[in-house]
Amino acid sequence: MIFQKYAAAKYFYPLAGKCLPWVASLTVITLCAGLYLGLFVAPPDYQQGETVRIMFVHVPAAWMSMFVYAMMAGAAAIGLVWKIKLTDTFISASAAIGASFTLLALLTGSLWGKPMWGAWWVWDARLTSELILLFLYLGFMSLQSAIDDPRRASRAGAILLLVGVINLPVIHYSVEWWNTLHQPASVARVDGPRIHSSILTPLLVMAVAFKLFYINVVLIRMRAAILDNETNSRWLEEQGA
């Protein structure tokens, strides 16, 4: 057991270090491409006007808010079954960035909602379930910091994450199940996307950029956490941090 948990960090640490510069460069490239397409190439929408450009931040952030949560919950399930220490490191590294994407989706949605709906906020099913997602992230983070014993903290956190998974389909189908002010899905549809490629392309490029950004953050945070946990490990000394 002890060998297993150290071995994982021992192999992960240099691997993450090798990946980082590549992931970082790809992030910068896709982010620049996405911003260029979104701000300069995409035409204003016939209904939303220039506010459609908010979507290039809002939609990828909202997707990421759910994606990161799903990754954390998946890692929590794996961690509960196989007791791999690295899953805890991964989950802790993901929490803050996941919460940040959720907050960004809510705030940019608000900035879009004011001119388009006439309200900063409405208690619509989509907005409310996304707000619950933010509370799930914050609840997870405070739970982790409240429990001193790392094993108990990871178990309690995993249970919270797994129970909260129920909110993900609620967010996704909220626009179908309830009569919401928020528009229904126009990209992730069974019959294919319903928006023009001039808007869809920057949206997807930004979504890739946000995903790469997330990988960057997680790799850095995981390496920092490993350095923190294993300051005195011999393998770290042999590798030269």
Partner: protein
């Protein structure tokens, strides 16, 4: 390219640029703070190895 028109965003400058500014601040903090901690951690580990060897 008409820059004043570009920055005006059809009268929605506050909302559009506000969104992008929030993205820069929120995502920026998410990379800057961990990177700072990571660098400090690396420095600490290196110093420890130097003193022990």
């Amino acid at each position: 390219m008409n820059w004043p028109e570009f920055f005006n965003m059809g009268g929605y400058a506050f909302n559009v640029w506000g969104s992008y500014l929030l993205a820069v601040i929120i995502l920026g903090l998410n990379i800057w703070l961990p990177l700072r901690r990571y660098r400090a951690q690396q420095k600490k580990v290196r110093q420890q190895h130097e003193t022990s060897s």
